[in-house]
Symmetry: C3
Subunit: 294 residues, 3 copies
Amino acid sequence: MMALRRALISTQHVCRPILQPRYWPARSLAAVAGSSTGHVDVSLDETTGIAILRMNKKPVNSLNLDMLTELTIALDKLESDNRCNGLVITSAVPKIFSAGLDILELYQPERGRLAEFWRALQNFWMKLYASPLAPAAAINGHSPAGGCLMAMSCDYRVMASGNYTIGLNETLLGIVAPFWFVDTMRNVISQRHCEKSLQLGTMYTSADALKIGLVDSLVSDTDTVEAARQELLNWLKVPGYARQLTKEQMRKPTVERLAARQDQDIENFVSFLLKDSIQKGLGRYLESLKKPKK
Amino acid sequence: MMALRRALISTQHVCRPILQPRYWPARSLAAVAGSSTGHVDVSLDETTGIAILRMNKKPVNSLNLDMLTELTIALDKLESDNRCNGLVITSAVPKIFSAGLDILELYQPERGRLAEFWRALQNFWMKLYASPLAPAAAINGHSPAGGCLMAMSCDYRVMASGNYTIGLNETLLGIVAPFWFVDTMRNVISQRHCEKSLQLGTMYTSADALKIGLVDSLVSDTDTVEAARQELLNWLKVPGYARQLTKEQMRKPTVERLAARQDQDIENFVSFLLKDSIQKGLGRYLESLKKPKK
Amino acid sequence: MMALRRALISTQHVCRPILQPRYWPARSLAAVAGSSTGHVDVSLDETTGIAILRMNKKPVNSLNLDMLTELTIALDKLESDNRCNGLVITSAVPKIFSAGLDILELYQPERGRLAEFWRALQNFWMKLYASPLAPAAAINGHSPAGGCLMAMSCDYRVMASGNYTIGLNETLLGIVAPFWFVDTMRNVISQRHCEKSLQLGTMYTSADALKIGLVDSLVSDTDTVEAARQELLNWLKVPGYARQLTKEQMRKPTVERLAARQDQDIENFVSFLLKDSIQKGLGRYLESLKKPKK
């Protein structure tokens, strides 16, 4: 009870800076129909009520604090916009959906900033996972780690059939995916595939991802957004109130697992990440990125 | 603790009228071997110990309060009959297994009646889901909503390979399947298929139902009962005591989830259904049924 | 809280006799590189860090108290040996991985011995299920009941494609698999396959086991150990700390379910097994084993 109240208080606490204009200039709702902050482009088709959100942060749509904040605000605005009923999330950067968490937030961070970053990720996930907009992921490129988490949190996943991969590969960086990453994956694929792929950090090809149910369908590389849009049209035919309550009923326990221990999860993650051995591992990984690939 | 005791008390309270003779004339157990109340025909093969229960309520075996009561009593009698070890549930009405809950119980109902109806459904489900008779569903026709719930609550499902569909399509009527429908489905198919099909109200063809595990096998339309009977013969070869305890161990937590909050679930359902918007939706649906199909 | 403390206390209590030398002669860690107690052969490849543990208790690697104790100690020694990073578990007996629990421990047992036996099984399972050595099962023969439990508790399962079977067939002996057998199986295959196979005591062919995910791959009969070893090499490429914490996070709740009620589980099992009807059933089964098979 106390824990829950504290979690709620700290959620409010965190949401305040997110909603402040320094990240997102105040604009009228009308402007949402075509808006951009440079990293997040949003267009809304008022006929269908479907918005397309394109991540546009080169080179790999990495999720740093600013990007997470922009994404959260964009989602928040769309959910408050009564012209918007559905959402497709995709990438404007070729060959990459999102590379996941920005490793520069994780390597040699300031403790307070790292905590703020992690809370922003938690808040974005809780919002996306429970979104009434039936988000569909148009996965038009690689989607490791946080990119995979984002895709798994949607209601539908269509992936480009090209030479792309998707998965939670945290262990390969010496990191442990937190429990709510695991919960999210377990609600998409089987417990067995979770156990194996999380330990091994498996990156699945699109074909394998389809086979184990990590994505729902494959289309050619240029058709992901249109396929997601077509799928969403079916979802939007269902009475929205009943569909949203049904989703809430199924996903609420998963969201509440994190909401009830949000502070503790931040503390766990920050303490873990600041360990010397983990930081050294990240350092080696960053070094390896600088070397030319064979 | 209080909640559990209250749930138990109200269960007793509800069971009393069900067991009164107004729904089912008192008859000797011997007569069960071939019995009917007009809507539920039961025949028992004393050699194998397998009973066949045929729902016979034209036009679509809809589940109203009387039908649920008859089904509960029939199940209760068979479970008390020491000549009976197994049960096949099927339909005597061509092309339909059961259309599920009678919409006439849901549309413009009297509040007390609606609560009684819902409690009867809860009680029937709890009894069927935990039945020691290893019920097998011979799904010889369409099986939406409550019909699908009934099939999923059995231990085995064989479906006619003809042009029939099965699924929980509540959202299409603007209704939300309660948590124990979801629990039942999640114990049959994957969490992912639950999430998607419950939101979309998906009705699966028999072929798709087989593919995702919603049914166990397909046979030609006229062979479902015999196929279910043959399957049951295998189940009855297993020492009954061990099989039943194994089932109880696996299904008890699911039944107890409802038992512990039965009153609250009734209150939730009744309040939800009596909303103006829900009633208007049902009204529109009933109107649409009257129009000739294109 | 009290229950947990009591469980921990009794675990210590039980571990003491296990670690006493009557079961396993004291030897230096150096000797582990090639060690045997007659029933458990262990060899360690110091280059790869992979140990091969071969069960060698003719005729069927049945798990009696001594065998469970030897297995637990062998596992304990390997986990303490910093030269060892991975483990393959297999059988030195042709055509059988392990027949599971020794029925002679179950038939007409002395109550105290039966309790000690059951606790040894619990302790072995908790150790194996949570082992940081990423155990891989090379299932080179039949693997019913406790043999299947052991295989399912590993992180990877490769099975001989020959004419062998695997499954939890307890009900066929009139016995009920305890909840932690069920938990273990549910973390490998679907809830639906658990429900059905546990009630029916299904023994799957290797091909069917692969199809439902009970094993991960099939190879020719003589290649299981090498295939398991090759697979393990991949697992050992992952940073060990992150892999082990990831495993712990996923499997800890399952282990804790038993740890929190270990005494009660023993009491349940002992009381159940000492029932006249269960003992008579086991007696009939033992008689049937003596008769020549048709």
